[in-house]
Amino acid sequence: MVDRGQAHTLEAVVAGLLLLSSIIFALQMTAVTPLSASTSSQHIENQQQSVARGVLAAAAEQESLKPTVLYWNETVGDFHGVTGVGYYTNEPPNTTFGGMLERSFDQRGISYNVYLSFETPAGEQKRKRMIYRGVPSDNAVVAARTVALMDDDPLYSAVSEPIAGTTLDNSSSFYMGDTGGAVYNVVRVEVVTWRI
């Protein structure tokens, strides 16, 4: 027994184990998931951004963006149908724009937040949540469109009809302030979308 050099080729076995363990180590270190950034996910982000831009353009053309911004319950001091938190969490608002968001994103497994960005009378930028479904992922994209509100624009009812006799100037609970002049305020509607 003592005269033998080597019984088996152990080097090959050790080298094989070394290769396999380095692959396992590399796999454990990097979490490669379907949400990881890559060329193909870049393509999907581009599509989501284009779709969001198209939804905003279609809503503006059908004159639904402004009624959604003005979808405000004056007596409660909140958006119609919103209780407590101050923004929609599950269903989008019952306006044409809300229906478009539902058809374009909800039915395709895409999550979205809608923010309203505007300037306060004191000159500060403020961002109000309108639809909020949590913190967007790293791969979220944003599309935005600007809407100008006039002093004599009416508020809209729960069925998305203008309420006669109401104007932004006379509203006391509206979430924006008058920045002066005939233009009441300018609001940027931002749609942030991401895959879930």
Partner: protein, 188 residues
């Protein structure tokens, strides 16, 4: 002396060890590209072209470049029935690749989807009903596409491959006849 107890390494040991090692190396070379495959773009040219075609259609060819995302009803119906209409930007009455300006050897399919029913039963290919001047879904009884009818199904191009092969889809949302519709361009 070549006694049985005095051997170093036999050929058999070597063959066994090396075959094991080579088997592991081959396994790793086959396995690693498989993990990364979903993250490499397959159809590079189509990815770029399909986006360009979708942008052109929604930002100009079917409407006006002044109002991107808003489609003109006359131009859209004219495009899908391959008729030249005055004031519309798409070229000619040829095949779909000719009308959108890509090479004739590339396969493209353009479809407009929509969900017009209030019940929310999912989207369907849209159809222009000439008799009542309205958009309907293709399963609607008003949508009769044929030689005796002026109705136009808003879909053109060959059918995308169903079983295998890479295809790239570009999706845009636009406003058509005061409805929000989805324009899908598939290339392969």
């Amino acid at each position: 002396m070549r006694g049985h107890n005095k051997r170093g390494q036999t050929t058999l040991d070597f063959a066994f060890g090396m075959s094991l090692f080579i088997a592991v190396v081959v396994f790793i070379f086959l396995f690693v590209p498989g993990i990364l495959e979903p993250f490499t773009a397959g159809a590079q040219a189509e990815t770029v072209t399909t986006n360009r075609v979708a942008d052109e259609l929604t930002h100009g060819l079917l409407g006006s470049a002044r109002t991107p995302g808003v489609l003109n009803r006359t131009c859209t119906v004219g495009f899908f029935s391959a008729v030249a209409v005055d004031g519309c930007a798409y070229g000619g009455t040829g095949t779909v690749p000719e009308r959108v300006g890509i090479g004739s050897n590339q396969n493209v399919n353009v479809t407009i989807y929509g969900n017009l029913s209030a019940s929310g039963d999912g989207r369907d290919v849209l159809c222009w009903d000439e008799d009542v001047d309205a958009l309907v879904e293709q399963g609607d009884s008003g949508c009769v596409v044929g030689p005796t009818s002026q109705d136009v199904r808003l879909q053109d191009g060959r059918s995308p491959p169903q079983r295998s092969g890479d295809s790239v889809t570009a999706t845009r949302v636009a406003s058509l006849f005061r409805e929000d519709v989805t324009v899908e361009v598939v290339m392969w």
